[in-house]
């Protein structure tokens, strides 16, 4: 038996949406190098729709796959919907993660919430 599902390995080997968005509307970064996984999410948002998303990740196979899958799940979606994304949804979309790797999917959820928070914060600042 392999350590990871084929879905995980696919997203790990060919991560979607890798990179940076220079003029991002929201940026989120979670984790720290001490625990071994760091994710950074960049969002481009138009009319409350996520038109583009990119990520950078320092971490294990499941951390990279979780970032990749999470970005796929919110791309093109309204921000309200993206806010509802759960780590379970990420893990399920990857056909499951080993128990001790679930924290990687939690990190992906948090990174996206973090980026959306940043977007809302910037937006309210602009409205002021």
């Amino acid at each position: 038996m392999a350590l990871y599902s084929e879905k995980v390995m696919d997203h790990f080997r060919n991560p979607r949406n890798v990179g940076v968005i220079e003029d991002a509307d929201g940026v989120g970064e979670v984790g720290n190098a001490k625990c071994g996984d760091i994710m950074k999410i960049y969002l481009k948002i138009d009319d409350d729709i996520i038109t583009d998303v990119k990520f950078e990740t320092f971490g294990c196979g499941s951390a990279i796959a979780s970032s990749s899958m999470a970005t796929e799940l919110i791309k093109g979606k309204p921000v309200a919907e993206a806010m509802e994304l759960t780590n379970k949804a990420v893990a399920e979309a990857l056909d499951g993660l080993p128990d001790y790797k679930m924290h990687c999917s939690v990190l992906a959820e948090e990174a996206i919430k973090n980026a959306l928070d940043d977007y809302y914060a910037k937006k309210s600042q602009n409205n002021n």
């Binding site: 790990f12 080997r13 991560p15 990179g19 190098a33 071994g36 760091i38 320092f58 971490g59 294990c60």
Partner: protein
Amino acid sequence: MKIYADNAATTRMSRAAIDAMMPYIEEYYGNPSSLYSFGQQAKEALESARETVAKCIGAQPREILFTSGGSEADNQAILSAAALGKKAGKTHIISDAIEHHAVLHTLKKLEKEGFEVTYLPVGTDGIVKVEDLEAAIREDTCLVTVMYANNEIGTIQPIKEIGKICREKKILFHTDAVQAVGHIPVNVESEYIDMLSSSAHKFHGPKGVGFLYARKGIRLTNLIEGGAQERGRRAGTENVPGIVAMAAALKESVEKIGENVKHAAALRDKLIAGLAGIPHSALNGDAVKRLPSNVSFCFEGIEGESLLLLLDDKGICASSGSACTSGSLDPSHVLLAIGRVHDVAHGSLRLTLGDDATEEEVDYIIQSVREVVEYLRGFSPVWRDLCAGKTEFIL
């Protein structure tokens, strides 16, 4: 290409070992404790294996106890010394920060029972300082247990010096030599070793077999109670095929040590030089006082598990001391002990070459690691911050 570069984890059984074991699986399956000749044939094979093993490390056959492997030998050696110490009112043990868990967890158990353990630090070179050992010795020290060579970073400890000090102070000295036996010359007599643990699968023998050497006169505590096998020190019908194979594997490995060391060390140094060419990388542990087949590196800005998975895709079997490969949040205690901070320790890679490794394989490994490290750094936020000057490079 398919390259097995994880020989510190386990090795392929040698032809000599397989050939030696087969008759004891297929034909001579008697129980060595049975008194008819069919059983005694197995008994003879067992005792002949004991002689071979003893000779390979400079011991007497009576001083060799067959076990299920390195972990059991470590447990039995330490618990035996502790029991002897306790009887004499001595409950202090000296060890070090980079031991294998088979030693560390046994010591933890003893700490709960009231023993006090001093863990000697190691320098950034991964080597214990003899002065630190001398300073740590007390009136009530009953055991010093320091590994011969480290399984992660390959550093070799000053065993003879440690042994000499212990012998002078009449303190029992145990060494976990699982990574050393069969790979570098080991002699219990000239190195003043009282107890030594070894494991067959690290020197081309089978898994689940090993031995404990205990100098004549040292009373061992049984871990397994039952029959009178192993002169009452370890119950259970002996793993005859495994033991016979272990002896054959060890004999061959020891005979070839000179040639293997030369061959492996040259490739190791080529590999180290190649990997050192990757920016912001560093060798873990002393460059000279290390096992001839061990290469351990840290690469800043990347994480070890993803590195291993991508190397696996390129046909290279390696290992890492990163947290994500161990299932815990902390990276290897060995890397932390030599002063690697968490961030850097996560990006570790251990390559342990086989006796049959070639220059071409080493070239392929260097090229592959270079590519994978570069690729992973390409989308690592840690690497980005380092390059942007937001955080400072450590390596």
